[in-house]
Structure formats: C-alpha cells, structure tokens
Symmetry: C2
Subunit: 87 residues, 2 copies
C-alpha cells in the first residue's frame, strides 16, 4: 500500500524548491520578486509554504524553466501529448 504526498507536504516541497533554485542562481528574494513583478513578501511567503495563487506559482515555474514540464504533465492527462517538447 502506498499513500501519496499530502497537499501540505506538496506546498512545503514547492517552497523548498523555490528557495533552492533561487539560491542556485544567487538571487535574493528581492531580486527574484522584481523579475517576476511580485513583492518580496510574496516570495517569502511562497518559500514558507503559505498558500498562493496560480499566477505566482506559474511565474516562478516559468522563470526556472519548469512551466513546460508542468504543462506536459497536464497535457498527458487530456490526451494532447505532443511529446517532443524540449523543456
């Protein structure tokens, strides 16, 4: 028997990912926020695992080249799969 990840866990994982990817590119919360037209507080809350909007999540995914991966995951379910995506 295998239990999947919870919503809270997923938010914390997402939070950790943002922090890791941001530090990997040596950006401060302020710098990342500016590039995404968000406030530093929004980035800080996202990295703290707080709830957020799809716009905020997708801006981050797009910046770190993960938006296409998410879109692929979505497409796989609807039968769109155009497969040859590089991202």
């Amino acid at each position: 028997m295998l239990i999947g990840v919870s919503i809270k866990e997923t938010k914390l994982k997402t939070a950790e990912m943002v922090k890791v990817l941001r530090k990997r590119e040596k950006l401060s919360q302020e710098q990342l926020a500016m590039r995404l037209n968000l406030s530093r507080i929004t980035i800080k809350n996202l990295e703290a695992g707080k709830n957020a909007t799809l716009d905020t999540l997708f801006k981050v995914l797009q910046y770190f080249d993960l938006l296409q991966s998410f879109a692929d995951l979505v497409d796989r379910e609807t039968g769109q799969q155009d497969y040859d995506s590089i991202y």
Copy 2:
C-alpha cells in the same frame, strides 16, 4: 529555437484537464466541488482558466491522483528524487 508555453496557456491547459478528468468520472461541477470542499463556482472558474489558489489546484490534482506527479517534478529540482514513486 523553441519557445515554451505561456502562463495563460498553462492555465487554459489546466482548465481543460480538470474538465476532461471530471467528465471522465461522470461528475458534475457540483459533485466535484463537494468532494473537494469547494464551491461549484470555484470549479467553474478553474475550468474557465481563471486564476486560483494552490490549495484549489492541489485539491484537484490530489483527487485525480496527479499530486504525487507534481511533487516528483518539484523534487527532481531540489535533488530529493526518491525515484520509486508509483504515482
């Protein structure tokens, strides 16, 4: 040269996916909303490509057994990869 998907496109893809998966299980918007402790309006807006919250998205992903896939995508970036996930 390859341009990735846009944020608006991703929201529309997500919207379409929710509608497809919901109909696949022969659920009305109302029934799905009740199972996720959301209002029908929230489901309707999500299926219309409107902005939403992570909680709403994750509830839907969890219901359709896609939350673990998203978590895996996230883990891959942070170096957590415990790989053997079934979902």
